[in-house]
């Protein structure tokens, strides 16, 4: 019962945030609505007993990706001050396309029988995750580090290009 109430609260957060993103005329507020929607998703992960994913959702998606989007908006004055028109000529086309997608997804969801695992949910998932990260999955774990190194170097090289271009203007 409590779980259902909590689920509805998070659903309001997710859907309200999504509607806010597509209806607000200011793109900065749209980004803030987007992070509200993401925090609702974190709530879903908690309800599914995936606490680590909820933490990742908050730390990475809200803490980093949404902040990155807000940064990008604040760095471009034109995007921030102009009031964007939310609709254009293709509104009805988009509505039809999203309705068809909704019907297709609904069809799939209704058809598939969702198997329930007979195993009892472990209490110390995070401990198990940490042990498997550093036990049997240690090579992928280290590769993640290399991947992050590569992405940082790539980001710096790309961003330096932007800086020098800006300096030339």
């Amino acid at each position: 019962m409590v779980e259902q109430i909590v689920f509805f609260i998070f659903t309001i957060l997710v859907l309200g945030g999504g509607i806010g993103v597509i209806t607000t005329k200011n793109i900065y507020y749209a980004a803030l609505f987007f992070s509200a929607s993401l925090s609702g998703m974190a709530g879903y992960f908690v309800l599914l007993n995936a606490g680590f994913l909820a933490a990742v959702q908050i730390v990475v998606y809200i803490g980093a990706i949404a902040i990155l989007i807000l940064f990008a908006i604040m760095l471009s004055r034109r995007m921030m001050t102009t009031k964007e028109q939310q609709t254009n000529r293709q509104t009805w086309l988009a509505a039809i396309a999203s309705f068809l997608l909704f019907v297709a997804l609904l069809g799939v969801v209704m058809q598939v029988t969702w198997p329930l695992s007979a195993e009892k949910h472990a209490d110390n998932v995070l401990v198990l995750l940490g042990m498997s990260f550093l036990g049997s999955y240690v090579i992928p774990f280290e590769v993640v580090s290399v991947l992050l190194l590569v992405s940082l170097i790539g980001a710096i090289i790309l961003a330096r290009d932007i800086q020098t271009e800006e300096g030339r203007e």
């Binding site: 680590f52 980093a64 902040i67 990155l68 604040m74 760095l75 995070l126 940490g130 190194l149 710096i156």
Partner: protein, 118 residues
């Protein structure tokens, strides 16, 4: 057993109530007499110049990008920290390697001047 997320729920409730009650009571009891000087942005007593919605330098974006990388690193170290007492010594060395590789990223960013505050 008590659900551990109850504490999170209480915290969320407190986080919502604190500003709502504080600002709500202030809204109820305060007098409402605005004038242009009162409504202007407070900037340490100095008169504000221009708008608050200014464009920031593009070079600040690099700090956000570097932050994302180390943010993801912290996410991967989180399960290790929780499981720390159950892990053998070589697991610690593995994490040291993990951090060392990313330390090179920090050195690279530093040497390329990406950490310089403009």
């Amino acid at each position: 057993m008590q659900n551990p997320y109850n504490f999170v729920g209480v915290l969320i409730l407190a986080a919502i109530l604190l500003p709502v009650v504080g600002l709500g009571v202030a809204w109820l009891v305060r007098p409402h007499k605005p004038n242009p000087i009162k409504k202007s942005t407070y900037e340490c007593g100095i008169e504000p110049i221009g708008e608050t919605w200014v464009q920031f330098k593009v070079s600040y974006y690099i700090y956000a990008l570097i932050f994302v990388v180390f943010d993801v690193e912290s996410v991967f170290l989180f399960p290790w920290a929780v499981a720390y007492n159950r892990l053998p010594l070589y697991a610690f060395l593995e994490v040291v390697i993990f951090i060392a590789i990313l330390f090179f990223a920090l050195i690279y960013a530093w040497r390329k001047g990406a950490l310089k505050w403009l």
